[in-house]
């Protein structure tokens, strides 16, 4: 490592503490980046320390030694303390251990939460897909401009028809009818669920449109009711609590 010649003399003055102002700040900035000049500065300080030997002088008085040792005894150094370790010196270790335990706990909890979140995200995606399908189905079924066509055997005159889709456990029901005869004013058709046991249960009041089509979606039915058959009667517009004979249409489950 070489010394930069332009700083050589400044280094000597600096080692003695005599460099001031801009010269000092310039040199200190240079020393930050120059290992060669830093090494030379150490050498110069070593040279400088030799000047201390040029003076002999008396030895320090005995009182100076006593004063120092008294001060030393009165100021035990912190590094000696660990030999008499007290509980509070364990605080950093305990804190570190507690933090480690907490970190593990939070990691486990975080992993569980991430798992639950992923499961919920999958459920949400499934529900969204189902909802989209349901919307499409309902939109088609309920569209006012939908074309309703019932296919029957060739050369068969149009007949009133009804179709029920019923899910017992949910109590959900969709009913679609076609070619229904027009019905007098003040009157309406009423759909009935005929259970395996007990009286017929009202399943919706409806009037056919001018083409004879009609639809009932999810009338209020108790879930879990097992249906033996479905029937349609003509009732007052407000509906009835029990069917009025005769039954104009009827069908049983397949």
């Amino acid at each position: 490592m070489s010394v930069h010649e332009q700083f050589a003399e400044d280094l000597a003055v600096y080692a003695l503490g005599g460099l001031q102002g801009d010269e000092r700040s310039t040199l200190e900035k240079h020393l930050q980046d120059c290992a060669g000049c830093r090494n030379e500065l150490e050498q110069l300080r070593g040279d400088m320390s030799l000047l201390a030997l040029s003076v002999g002088g008396p030895k320090p008085p005995a009182r100076a030694r006593a004063r120092l040792l008294k001060a030393v005894a009165g100021e035990p150094r912190p590094v000696a303390i660990p030999r008499r370790r007290s509980w509070w010196t364990l605080i950093p270790s305990l804190a570190a251990a507690a933090m480690a335990v907490a970190a593990v706990f939070f990691w486990i909890e975080n992993t569980e939460l991430e798992g639950r979140l992923a499961s919920l995200e999958r459920q949400q995606a499934t529900l969204q897909a189902q909802l989209l399908l349901a919307h499409e189905v309902v939109a088609t079924l309920t569209a006012p401009d939908a074309m309703n066509v019932t296919l029957v055997a060739a050369k068969t005159p149009p007949q009133p028809q009804g179709k029920v889709m019923y899910v017992k456990d949910r109590g959900s029901l969709i009913f679609m009818a076609s070619n229904l005869p027009a019905i007098p004013a003040q009157k309406a058709y009423e759909l009935w669920l005929i259970p395996m046991q007990g009286s017929p249960m009202p399943a919706g009041v409806f009037k056919p449109d001018r083409k004879g089509g009609a639809m009932v979606i999810n009338p209020p039915l108790p879930p879990g009711t097992e249906a033996k058959a479905f029937a349609i009667t003509v009732e007052p517009e407000a509906g009835s609590s029990a069917p009025t004979m005769p039954i104009v249409m009827m069908g049983a489950g397949e």
């Binding site: 005599g18 320390s49 030997l53 003076v55 002088g57 320090p60 000696a80």
Partner: protein, 182 residues
């Protein structure tokens, strides 16, 4: 012979280790080895025994409070203490706050200064070098070292150019180095 010395097995290394462990006896032994160097430098600068004793106290208490300030892999303890004592004494003389952090001082020089005989031989050699210098050079070096004057102040005091003062100071230090290198 100059240069940094690895002194892990030296007596001073053992003393410093004991001081790090809190040994007051080790501190007393260290004081017995180096107090003469520290005190003589402080007294030469300050010309006041009471002030020199304060510097002596301050230097050793700093070492007691933080032995790690001295890096034993980068020089001898004696010269390091001499530099610290001189700097503190100059600060005291000039009524200024310490300008050099104690842990900034690294001294690469070989003489231990712990043994009185060794110190006496070194003193004789230093005095020989100083007496062999041209008077203006020795004077500039001593004004800088013992009075803490800047090169500008020395220039103003002697009427010599700044560059000349700088050159003399550096040449004086290099002459000391050369004497101890052989």
């Amino acid at each position: 012979m100059f240069g940094a010395a690895i002194i892990g097995d030296s007596p001073e290394f053992g003393l410093l280790s004991a001081i790090r462990a809190g040994s007051e006896n080790a501190m007393a032994e260290l004081y017995d080895r180096y107090s003469a160097v520290v005190y003589s430098v402080a007294l030469r600068v300050l010309s006041d025994t009471g002030a020199a004793e304060d510097i002596l106290q301050e230097v050793f208490m700093q070492l007691w409070r933080n032995p790690g300030l001295f890096d034993s892999s980068r020089g001898k303890l004696g010269p390091w203490l001499a530099v610290i004592a001189r700097n503190r004494a100059i600060d005291f003389l000039r009524k200024r706050r310490p300008e050099t952090d104690i842990d900034d001082v690294v001294v690469s020089v070989e003489p231990d200064l712990a043994e009185e005989a060794q110190r006496a031989r070194a003193m004789e050699k230093v005095r020989g070098v100083l007496s062999g210098m041209p008077s203006p050079q020795r004077s500039a070096l001593e004004m800088a070292y013992f009075e803490g004057l800047s090169h500008s102040e020395i220039s103003a005091k002697t009427g010599e150019p700044l560059g000349t003062i700088k050159t003399r100071i550096r040449a004086g230090l290099l002459a000391l180095r050369k004497a101890f290198a052989t």
